[in-house]
Amino acid sequence: MAMRKTKAAKITLKRRDVVKRILSQRGDAAVVTGIGNAVHDVASCGDDARNMYLGGIMGGASMVAFGVALAQPKRRVLVITGDGELLAGIGSLLTIGVEKPKNLAIVVLDNQAYGATGNQLTHTAAGVDLVAIAKASGFTSTALITDTAGIDAAMADIHDRPGPYFAVVKVKTVTGPRLDISRDGTYISRRFRTAMTGEEGW
């Protein structure tokens, strides 16, 4: 049986607007993106050495960010990813919920679809509740965001509240243009590491 989309409140937020609003107050935060559209959502706010754009490793964003968060305890580490990417590494939520890194926040842009491959429905379209999973895993604070007021109300939690913090933002499937940023992992990772540590040598 094909998966059916559950009836839900109308989704109005656009992912690019959401990310722009959140990152407008990033401070010195590191940002780790999930693969796919999240890379370009984050890059559209301005390319930044403190952005780690991931590719290929579906399901890996949260744990990459977790490793950064342990190594950089004084810095906020923010994951911007999609629901499909998060679902592929759903066990990571349990691990992070157990470990409770205070400086880690995960924001899921939930369009209920695999945007990079033709908008096939994800499990969230069928009603899987990521916020409930995060809560049950031990995340100290969570939010389900469906409008601009919700983003504004969550800003302090996303950027400052002792975490781990987890938010789902319901967004439309519409994306923006792809950005011409480097796709070279060696370059992006070393640029990021230097921004984190101040070290040039590897």
């Binding site: 780790v32 890996g60 744990m63 990459v64 490793g67 342990l70």
Partner: protein
């Protein structure tokens, strides 16, 4: 001359010392019988943050993050977990991130449980297919120096290196 069997300490103590000396700060693992003692030592070390994973690929991503944030890590796994890591190795390879892995073998030396044999026999090939340098060791007294050499190649040589500990040493197996 009477031959006496010298009371030797378990190799895990020496490996733990090597990891400490290398300033390893993050330890990611899925519990395993062959590595149980080493895992206990790491868990008891306040300078190391030991993290239990739900599945092994989480550890590869964490190790990448550790390096990105300026810390060294070690990934501990049973051979069966190596197969779970394959796609996550993409990041290690594409970004040329140092990775030190210690793998304890099943499905290899005298394995009596048939379900362990397929992945055990694929472990080395899987690692090498993902461009991970493999350093096998089949004598207990050579594990620590092999880990030390692997750590140097990983952290200073910027490579992914896995030390594979033979089932001949751990005597794991038989129960499933």
């Amino acid at each position: 001359m009477v031959k006496t069997k010298a009371k030797t300490r378990h190799w895990s103590h020496d490996v733990h010392s090597v990891l400490k000396k290398a300033d390893v700060r993050q330890v990611a693992y899925v519990p395993d019988g062959g590595l149980a003692k080493l895992i206990d030592l790491c868990n008891g070390d306040k300078k190391m943050r030991s993290v239990v994973l739900t599945t092994e690929e989480e550890g590869i991503a964490q190790m990448a993050g550790a390096w990105l944030g300026g810390q060294r890590g070690v990934f501990l796994t049973q051979s069966g977990g190596v197969g779970n890591c394959i796609n996550m190795f993409s990041m290690i390879q594409e970004c040329r991130i140092p990775l030190l892995a210690i793998v304890s073998m099943r499905g290899q030396w005298g394995e009596a449980y048939p379900w362990q044999i397929p992945m055990g026999q694929s472990t080395r090939a899987a690692l090498e297919a993902a461009n991970v340098i493999v350093q096998p060791v089949d004598r207990a007294d050579e594990i620590a120096e092999t880990v030390e050499a692997a750590a140097r190649m990983a952290y200073d040589g910027n490579r992914a290196v896995a030390v594979i500990i033979s089932q001949r040493i751990t005597k794991s197996g038989g129960r499933g």
